[in-house]
């Protein structure tokens, strides 16, 4: 393990990779500050750039962008109450009231320090948990992998927003369906190609990710224009007040940051749960744990209420890398994109990554920590300057982002047919968004589809076509039971809630 850590460290400290972390954090912060664009769009925009880099540098750049985008989202949450992504919604609960009181500088500094704490503690936990899990998963067989993928896919659907569980499942199935297009890798026959040579290789991951999350997001913001907050954000940043945090305040929030980091990390490890749930849970926990007088401050500018979600969402972001790097199962849309990118580089994440490419495994983990340092040391003081970039009017920014999305795909394939397919997919994505279908499960299904089919094929061949492979091995059985529970629970809950609502209505009517 020490050899691996040293190999990772030597890769991570290479000047190119250090620059990647800095550029990633900087670009991510900028994109994250833009309303409507979150980490997933930021990473999608980076994929074409990473194609020209070696896998370690590519992953390091994407990890930097991920952290930067979350940090940028927190900044806009605090300053103008406009979270860039769902995981920073809770930050606005107390961050914005603090900014309104003239303590924006302090709020930004506290957010950065707590993110740093979350990042540091989670990096240590990642250092311990990832290799241990990778070692355990080396004993996994194809049936275990198939069942594990079922857990991943069903969990992502289960953690979808209220009333979206069924839709998330449908999107997962659609993603799996899309993954079957092209020449079947196991048998070699064409499937759903309609005789078109462009479809022989199946849909391009890059095209799908860029169309749904980069181009789709921007086109959606053109369809449903939100108020242009860049000027407001820019002016809010011009006078943020002092960034000083007193000793008493640090004493007060230190236990909060530590507790939230642990909670965030473990929530992040769960497939599908992610940074948003971690932020909400830690906020709720700290509110309950706070003494009476401090509890009343929550929602009115409490420093505990700001530190808890910031530490938790950062720790959860690191935690979500555990299933990605050790099992090859992404727990969120963002890590799904990273998995797709890794597969495109020809690297299969999972237990073999730890054995075959330890330098990638460890350099990503170490760079994630560097990302935290960069965010605190460089980005925090640079915030007022980054905000100057936000002064670029929306009328110029949106066509530029569309241009980067289209060019990103075009420069990889040099095929204009891809541009047309991309436009079509983006338009379909807009309709899906309007009908409140979540898009992350689609991408997850698409990315895991090939692997899932391969493992199902092997399992069925080994078990001679019997479904008993799902319960023959204890590990497989455990995963099967978990996925069955995760699948059934939302349906039962919905039915139960509906029944209760009906009963309440009946009682009302009787009144």
């Amino acid at each position: 393990m020490l050899d691996g850590i040293l190999a990772g460290l030597s890769t991570a400290v290479m000047p190119t990779n250090l620059m990647m972390v800095m550029v990633g954090c900087f670009v991510g912060t900028f994109i994250g500050m833009l309303p409507g664009l979150g980490p997933i769009s930021a990473i999608a925009l980076m994929i074409p750039i990473t194609y020209g880099l070696d896998p370690s540098s590519g992953m390091i750049l994407m990890a930097g962008v991920y952290y930067g985008a979350i940090f940028g989202g927190s900044t806009s949450s605090i300053l103008i109450n406009a979270p860039g992504c769902s995981s920073t919604v809770v930050t606005a609960f107390d961050g914005y009231p603090m900014a309104k009181k003239g303590q924006a500088g302090k709020a930004l500094a506290l957010a950065a320090y707590s993110s740093f704490t979350g990042g540091t503690l989670s990096a240590i936990m990642l250092l311990i948990a990832a290799p241990a899990l990778a070692k355990v998963s080396l004993s996994f067989q194809s049936s275990d992998y198939f069942a594990l993928m079922l857990v991943g896919l069903s969990a992502v659907a289960a953690f979808a927003g209220k009333g979206q569980v069924l839709k998330a499942w449908m999107m997962t199935i659609l993603g799996l369906m899309l993954s079957t297009v092209g020449i079947d890798k196991g048998i070699g026959v064409e499937r759903f190609t309609f005789g078109l040579t462009d479809l022989m290789d199946g849909f391009s991951f890059l095209l799908l990710a860029m169309a749904t999350f980069a181009l789709g997001e921007i086109l959606f913001s053109i369809l449903k224009p939100e108020p242009d907050t860049s000027a407001e954000e820019s002016s809010a940043l011009s006078d943020i007040g002092s960034m000083k945090v007193t000793k008493e305040e640090i004493k007060e929030v230190a236990p909060v940051a530590i507790r939230s980091s642990f909670l965030g990390f473990f929530v992040g490890v769960l497939p599908g749960a992610g940074a948003t749930i971690a932020a909400f849970l830690s906020y709720g926990l700290e509110r309950n744990l706070a003494p009476k007088d401090k509890r009343d401050e929550f929602g009115k500018g409490s420093i505990r209420g700001l530190v808890a979600p910031e530490a938790a969402n950062n720790a959860a972001s690191s935690g979500s890398f555990v299933p990605l790097l050790t099992l090859g199962i992404p727990g969120s849309g963002t890590t799904a994109i990273m998995l797709g990118a890794l597969i495109s580089y020809g690297i299969q994440p999972g237990p073999r990554l730890f054995v075959d490419n330890p330098e990638i495994f460890w350099s990503v983990i170490i760079s994630m920590y560097f990302g935290n340092v960069v965010l605190m040391v460089l980005n925090l003081p640079l915030i007022p300057y980054i905000s100057k970039l936000l002064a670029v009017p929306r009328t110029v920014l949106l066509p530029m982002i569309i241009f980067f999305s289209i060019t990103g795909v075009y420069l990889v394939s040099f095929n204009t047919v891809d541009v047309f397919i991309m436009i079509l997919v983006a338009v379909i994505a807009i309709f899906l968004r309007l009908a409140t279908f979540p898009l992350a499960p689609l991408l997850l299904g698409f990315i895991l589809g090939g692997l899932m089919e391969e493992n199902l094929r092997r399992s069925l061949m080994i078990s001679d076509g019997e479904l008993s492979f799902l319960w023959d091995r204890p590990i497989t059985l455990t995963f099967t039971v978990i996925s069955a529970l995760v699948l059934i629970a939302p349906i039962l809950l919905t039915a139960f809630n509906r029944r209760r609502a009906k009963r309440a209505l009946f009682v009302d009517d009787c009144d």
Partner: protein, 163 residues
């Protein structure tokens, strides 16, 4: 208690119906996948996963159709719809399609510059300095970066090749 009028075809139900149709087409196409002799005795063929997905997709879409409540006919939903700028989106989709064609015919520099110019214009930018300054010079610099620094070959476009 006065009940709100409802429509049977809510957005969710329509979505469910469309998804059902997609699943049926997918399922039909799955039956057309070529099988090799002896495949009928195999535990897993190229059709197995598509069949499973078709079945799961049909169940899900039927669940959505059955479980989603009828849409209330209220004005707020219509108001939300009217806030959507379909005209601008359509214009952008056309502009992007034209850009796709332009890449082949006009080449990267001209097509991209015109695309950016059109995009700025559509979003309401009217300042000549921005319209021209952020398109042609920016794209030329970007083109220089791609071709001279990163050594990426970009075709000049049919129009210039025929000259």
């Amino acid at each position: 208690m006065q009940s709100t009028p409802t429509s049977l075809l809510s957005r969710d139900r329509v979505s469910g119906l469309i998804f059902l149709l997609v699943c049926l087409i997918y399922g039909y196409q799955a039956t057309q996948i070529q099988l090799f002799p002896g495949d009928e005795y195999e535990a897993f063929t190229a059709r197995t996963l598509p069949y499973l997905l078709t079945a799961a997709g049909i169940v899900m879409s039927l669940l959505l159709i059955v479980m989603s409540p009828a849409a209330p006919c209220n004005e707020s939903a219509c108001e939300n719809e009217s806030r959507l700028d379909w005209r601008l989106l359509s214009a952008f989709v056309l502009l992007m399609a034209a850009y796709g064609l332009g890449l082949t015919w006009l080449g990267f520099v001209l097509a991209t510059s015109l695309f950016l110019l059109g995009g700025f214009w559509l979003l309401g930018e009217r300042r000549k300095a921005v319209l021209l300054g952020a398109s042609f010079p920016f794209v030329t610099l970007f083109w220089l970066l791609l071709t001279k620094v990163l050594d990426i070959y970009l075709e000049p476009g049919y129009l210039f090749l025929s000259l």
